[in-house]
Amino acid sequence: MAMASAVAGAAGGKPKPALLLLSRVDAAFSAALRARFRVRDFYASAAPLPAFLAAAAAAAATAEDPQAPRAVLVAGGGAILVDEAFLDAAPSLRCVVTTSAGVDHVDLAECKSRGVAVAGAGTVYSADVADHAVGLLIDVLRRVTAADRYVRQGLWPVRGDYPLGSKLGGKRVGIIGLGSIGSLIAKRLEAFGCVVSYHSRSPKASAPYRYFPDVHDLAADSDVLVVACALSDATRRIVGRRALDALGTGGVVVNVARGGNVDERELVAALQEGRIAGAGLDVFEDEPHVPPELMAMDNVVLTGHEAAFTEDSIADLRELMIGNLEAFFTGKPLLTPVLHP
């Protein structure tokens, strides 16, 4: 009796479903989760992952016990892998919800074979990443951040006008990866009169832009390269020496994808030697380490892996994650399911 009332909801109704929480969440998110679910918070426990999962499993009499956690909210990035071992340790799980758009850390095949549904962040971050990419591009071509420094250093009255930048209109922009982020970048840049082309694994039938099956041909035909693809074996260092050489002097690289998509050493060398004209970078190979050579350059703009993170996207994410969890627990279709290909 005591246990039943302890697990009952505030109104004395149905008990709240149990949820494994393997993501750091802010206060608002935490409160929203705890209002709806019985949260077992990994980051609040001192236990290592296997012990944490074992304790959660042991708290239930059987896998069907309402105390058994049937859903997990997990962060992306790879600190926690939802793989065979994980799923073995949490046999009651039937739903994995990740706060990331990418699902590299989730074994989709294993989930499918165990009847575990997976939901991701869908396109919750896409607009903000696209906006940041456009902001970085305008900044590099029009020297916004460098000129802001110039004014703040009191140089305008002393040295006069800031050196001229480069016009956006008519620039050929090659987008690597035309997923939800790449498409939004393309749509925005067209409004500035940029000419958009793209490279991806295969052409998108609905995309009105010129497709290049070879990224080096894209680079050769571009004034700007925007990297917006997921990181995979196929796209690791997709922007390397060859692509940078093809892009050529006057060329600009914008990276809002992953540091691993670009050969960072080659990029730094190309910038130092003036073989390309500038770069806007939100991601790096070994974050938060940024090559010191870049820190001294006026023709680069550097931000710390923040393209996705606005108050708005965090609020949207919270709503989406809870929406997915509530859909699962009420037997409805997930809002942003990720299917095994």
Binding site: A127, R142, D161, G165, E306, T310, I314
Partner: protein, 317 residues
């Protein structure tokens, strides 16, 4: 136009200067000299100056116009002509030209670039990384989304419309104020700037500066825009009550500002430099190699047209 005596008021563009020197009889004004030397220069050359080439901030005031009895044309290397004494030019029959159109895209690009830079705090984020804070302190703060923000534009002329088209691609609803309402199916008209500001997240000044629009961004407008609002000024410093703006930003009554122009360029109030919710640009709205070249060609084209008795390309007066 080899016999056309042209007074270049101040250095503004290497290509323009080189072409004027090549094609006309170029005189370079001693812009930085003390007033008595400037006056002496004008007296000495009054007989030969038939054209003045000037920039947007320098303009051409009554004193200059009066000192040049043979003046026929003032060609501005800018779209703004608020510092040219048009009345005096009309009285004297002096033509005035500017450089509209060719700089529209660049100015609109910078307006949007400033809006994103302010909301997403790009210069501040860059400074954070360069100062080693990403390593030392961890992630930068959350910033504010630009997509979908309500954009209010003061003046839906060439530049205002170009800004509207760009922000529409970000899903931003567009509203505007100007003296006359037009029929734009996608843009909402407001009969006062205060009402426009009250319903905007980003307020952009894109009108020309004249008697009606001086300090059009008043304390009342700034208050209506509010602590969540951002002002972007790519017009003229004179459009904004600058002391009020600075106070509002410092006190948090206005959320942020992206400013390309100031009341007393190149001076920027110290109080603005101290703030981290502003992005400051040194009047570079048209500052690209491509556009300055195109502007120079418009100036040269206007002078050629004048000398050959053809219609001016872009007359103001």
């Amino acid at each position: 136009m080899e016999s056309l005596g042209v007074l270049l008021l101040h250095p503004m563009d290497a290509y323009l200067e080189q072409e004027l020197a090549r094609r006309c009889r170029l005189l370079r004004f001693c812009w930085d000299a003390p007033p008595d030397r400037r006056d002496a220069f004008l007296r000495a050359h009054a007989g030969s100056v038939r054209a003045v080439v000037t920039g947007g901030v320098a303009g051409a005031g009554a004193a200059l116009i009066d000192a040049l009895p043979r003046l026929e044309i003032v060609a501005c290397f800018s779209v703004g002509f608020d510092r040219v004494d048009l009345a005096r030019c009309r009285e004297r029959g002096v033509r005035v030209t500017n450089t509209p159109g060719v700089l529209t895209d660049d100015v609109a690009d910078l307006a949007v670039g400033l809006a994103i830079a302010v909301l997403r705090r790009i210069p501040q984020a860059d400074g954070y990384v360069r100062a080693g804070q990403w390593k030392a302190k961890g992630d930068f703060t959350l910033t504010t989304r630009f997509s979908g923000k309500r954009v209010g534009i003061i003046g839906l002329g060439r530049i205002g419309l170009a800004i509207a088209r760009r922000v529409e691609a970000f899903g931003c609803p567009v509203s505007y104020y100007q003296r006359t309402k037009r029929d734009y199916p996608n843009y909402t008209f407001f009969p006062t700037v205060v009402e426009l500001a009250a319903t905007s997240d980003v307020l952009v000044v894109a009108c020309s500066l004249n008697e009606q629009s001086r300090r059009i961004v008043s304390r009342e407008v700034i208050d209506a825009l509010g602590p969540g609002g951002v002002l972007v000024n790519i017009g003229r410093g004179g459009h904004v009550d600058e002391p009020e703006l600075v106070a509002a930003l410092a006190e948090g009554r206005l959320g942020g500002a992206g400013l390309d122009v100031f009341e007393d360029e190149p001076e920027v109030p110290e109080a603005l430099v101290a703030l981290d919710n502003v992005v400051l640009a040194p009047h570079m709205g048209s500052g690209t190699r491509e556009t300055r070249r195109a502007m120079a060609d418009v100036v040269l084209g206007n002078l050629e047209a004048h000398v050959s008795g053809k219609p001016l390309l872009t007359p103001v007066v």
